[in-house]
Symmetry: C2
Subunit: 316 residues, 2 copies
């Protein structure tokens, strides 16, 4: 019995039993010794130091990396592709959390909570703050129509919002009133009051939100980024806010992360920064393990996977 699963989190008993029944021992990342590296067949979670040590171990048996995130752009693609290792991601585990964080961001500004949290701290009763909005006042454009985008679109729909989406080809997606191809983004953003980015981090999306993009924006209520920080050119975004083209901004991801204390984004009152936490929940790890677990039977049977396999050539 020489197979090892190296994990970043504790596993529930039923998963431990299933692994044991398939001759796989479980070792926490922190308990791994250099002698273990070559015998790790599965990594649950990623740690750059440990991961590279395992990948570089002579006669490494690594077959499968289950990441704890949906985006996998931090992985060493070349090595993983060269060794024909399967990567599965956490796609689906974040949908509820991120969708609800985005709705929370929108309601925070549209229902005036930004004013009332300050008023509460200052013990100020001000009931003349009525310039607030309901969600049906807005048209929302979501860039990215994967599991998070679909969940968000359906949630917003139930709250009477018209929702458009952008994906690579512009193909129609259940839950969206309308979809555009990314090449046609200029037409899509024209109609939007709120733009939400959930696109994965790829070369195509790097600096996508640059000064050219913001040329097409006018009178946007909100810009929200829950995709990847490097999709946004900070100076172009700040300029758009200064030019009053965008009223409020919520950034879960920034460029770089952590965002340095002297970055101007911290100092703009209309910018809310949530420090890459919108995907979290108190039971996140268990949710992730339940997705991971769905691939175990086929993996142990014939090395195949039924969900969440990443195409590293595309990056998602």
């Amino acid at each position: 019995m020489s197979q090892l699963l190296a994990t970043f989190c504790a596993l529930p008993d039923d998963v431990l039993t299933e692994l044991k029944n398939n001759d796989t021992n479980v070792v926490a990342f922190n308990d791994l010794t250099p002698e273990d590296y070559a015998n790790v067949t599965i990594m649950l979670g990623w740690d750059a130091k440990i991961g590279n040590a395992i990948l570089n171990a002579p006669s490494s048996k690594l077959q499968w990396i289950q990441t704890h995130s949906a985006g996998v752009d931090y992985l060493p693609y070349d090595k993983i592709l060269a060794k024909n290792i399967t990567v599965t991601n956490a796609s689906g585990v974040h949908a509820e959390q991120i969708s609800q964080s985005v709705i929370g961001d929108i309601l925070y500004f549209s229902r005036g909570l930004n004013v009332h949290t300050t008023n509460t701290a200052n013990k100020v009763w001000d009931d003349q703050t009525g310039n607030t909005y309901v969600l049906s006042d807005f048209k929302v454009l979501i860039l990215g129509t994967g599991s998070i985008g679909v969940e968000l679109a359906k949630n917003l729909h139930a709250l009477h919002v018209t929702v458009s989406g952008i994906n690579h080809s512009g193909r129609a997606i259940d839950g969206f009133d309308k979809t555009y191809a990314i090449a046609d983004y200029a037409n899509a953003v024209k109609e939007a009051d709120i733009i939400v980015n959930i696109l994965p981090g790829t070369e195509e999306t790097r600096n996508f939100f640059n000064s050219e993009f913001f040329k097409h924006i006018d009178n946007l209520f909100m810009f929200i980024n829950v995709g990847r920080g490097f999709s946004v050119e900070n100076t172009a975004l700040v300029q758009a806010v200064n030019d009053k083209k965008i009223r409020y901004v919520a950034l879960d991801v920034t460029n770089p992360e952590p965002l340095p204390k002297d970055n101007i984004l911290w100092s703009i009152p209309e910018v809310l920064i949530t420090s890459h936490t919108t995907g979290q929940s108190y039971d996140y790890n268990l949710r992730l393990v339940r997705i991971f677990q769905q691939n175990l039977p086929s993996y142990f049977k014939d090395g195949s996977f039924i969900r969440n396999v990443v195409n590293l050539n595309k990056g998602y």
Copy 2:
């Protein structure tokens, strides 16, 4: 042409035309003279000083008061009943606003925005704040199953929440998974993680949330009051928070209003106060006028009303 409509807000042209075609002139509250009082047949909005002057005018012709609020407990019931004046309220105009403010309150605390707004102000990047929740982690109990309660129940349902309701008789209401009679509240609150009060202000609901009520509470994530402030006994609520029976509180209404600066509720970090604004929206008055307008044809035809008539003996 001696009929007058006294109004607190501007009216759109089509409503002005409809009134004029029925021999009714429009006067703003601020422009009313004492000579006008007896000729006012309709009050759109309520102002205690002007309203009482109109009611007390010798041979007052007042027939109809359209309030700008859903709750009407501030009106002088006795005088209005004695003169057989019809009161219509703003029920329905607030449903989207209040429902979305309540969801915003819940997401503010459950998605950790309370932490991240402070962190943003302090330029702190902290991504280890993961003890957050999604809405499906909660069972929500709504006291009050009128138009606001139904909208909120349906919205929460779409966000994967199990929703119970309380009304007078316990009758089933579309949109609620379960309903309880108010007399049976002790059983209802046992199963709830979040309690939302939307009950109208009546003698039955005065001090309803008192120490006896909070005896039945344990480990509540949130208590939200968007009904009436005098339904809550402040000391009992504060005690429940101090006893860790309630984690977070959002109060749109307080007892009294405005809440005095020295009231302890301002000083509890887990309490958010929104100063009676959750029903507001930038186009509130227009929404109200559109409800008012629906009664104009029948009123001018035969003095009858098709919606929003208040039973002053019940208070709603």
